[in-house]
Symmetry: C2
Subunit: 186 residues, 2 copies
């Protein structure tokens, strides 16, 4: 399989259920994938830009895994994009470091999938809230292969029951398996 680098954009992965389960399952199914947990690597958001660029340069396939907050990517992942994807490296006339790589996004939403629809509380689909990803991929000359999303993944300690938590983890594992199937086909 091609070299896969996953950027985990959860701001507190140790306390996560869904994102942690997705990443753990990908690690089990695809142990050669490199998972970079930016909250653990850089607890103060002081990214080692050269180290991140070196890791991304080695990848054939880059995956962003993150929870959706306020209809978008977490602030910590946005900061990562702003700082690591430098002009002259990721974009611009001389910025071709990511050119030709495959890109996949995978996100979890706390609310149910149906909330992200014209008639739902979010009024728009998760694809509409992900328009920027198309431009991000185009700007960095990556090929955006797919955006995976899964709703109803909210976990609230003391409120979510053990049975509900187990169901969340099952859904997360299913998303991970779909991602790995996608990777195998690339």
């Amino acid at each position: 399989m091609k070299k896969v680098v996953i950027i985990s954009g959860h701001p507190n992965l140790k306390n996560s259920v869904a994102n942690k389960a997705i990443l753990d399952e990908i690690a089990r199914l695809c142990p050669q994938a490199e998972i970079r947990k930016i909250d653990e690597l850089y607890p103060d958001c002081k990214f080692d830009i050269k180290a991140e660029q070196a890791a991304l340069e080695k990848a054939d396939i880059i995956i962003f895994q993150y929870p959706t907050y306020w209809c978008g990517i977490p602030g910590v992942l946005k900061l990562y994009v702003e700082q690591v994807m430098e002009h002259g490296w990721a974009y611009g006339s001389k910025g071709t470091a990511l050119k030709g790589k495959a890109f996949i996004a995978s996100t979890t939403m706390g609310v149910l999938d149906k909330a992200y629809s014209a008639g739902g509380v979010m009024k728009h689909t998760i694809e509409e809230f992900s328009y920027w990803i198309e431009n991000f991929a185009a700007g960095t000359q990556m090929d955006c292969k797919k955006i995976f999303s899964i709703g109803g993944m909210m976990y609230v300690p003391g409120i979510t029951t053990d049975e509900q938590k187990a169901a969340l983890i099952d859904k997360a594992k299913k998303q991970a398996a779909e991602i790995v199937e996608c990777l195998k086909a690339l």
Copy 2:
């Protein structure tokens, strides 16, 4: 005039031309507005959540002023939203601290306005990339009055000429004047 609190989401306002010019002009035209520069207040993104909540509680009108990066708000401003807009304070059944306040967003884009269109390089309008703001306002029970946006505001030291810089500042001042007119009508 009602109490206005402006949250500046530029990650490095001292080096900004457009955002700085907008804020300076608002301060000149509307000196009673409180401008909170989160990059200067919190250079390490360690927000004083209680202080920010107290400042926002006093406001009748809240403005977010920020540059658009990768089609969205800066990571530092997204972090601010995630951390300051706590469940039970800004949203949720007991989260009514912002209820009834007016909300305005004002953003600058480096690329020309026409880039943000169906036929432009960004493929979608800035309004489409701002869908989340409607949900943010609805979730916090604020009334989103207007989203101001202005393109072609890129400033590159050593490349942008003095004449071009002066033109950027003029455009920025115009946007500031429009915002202040909007405030007067509220």
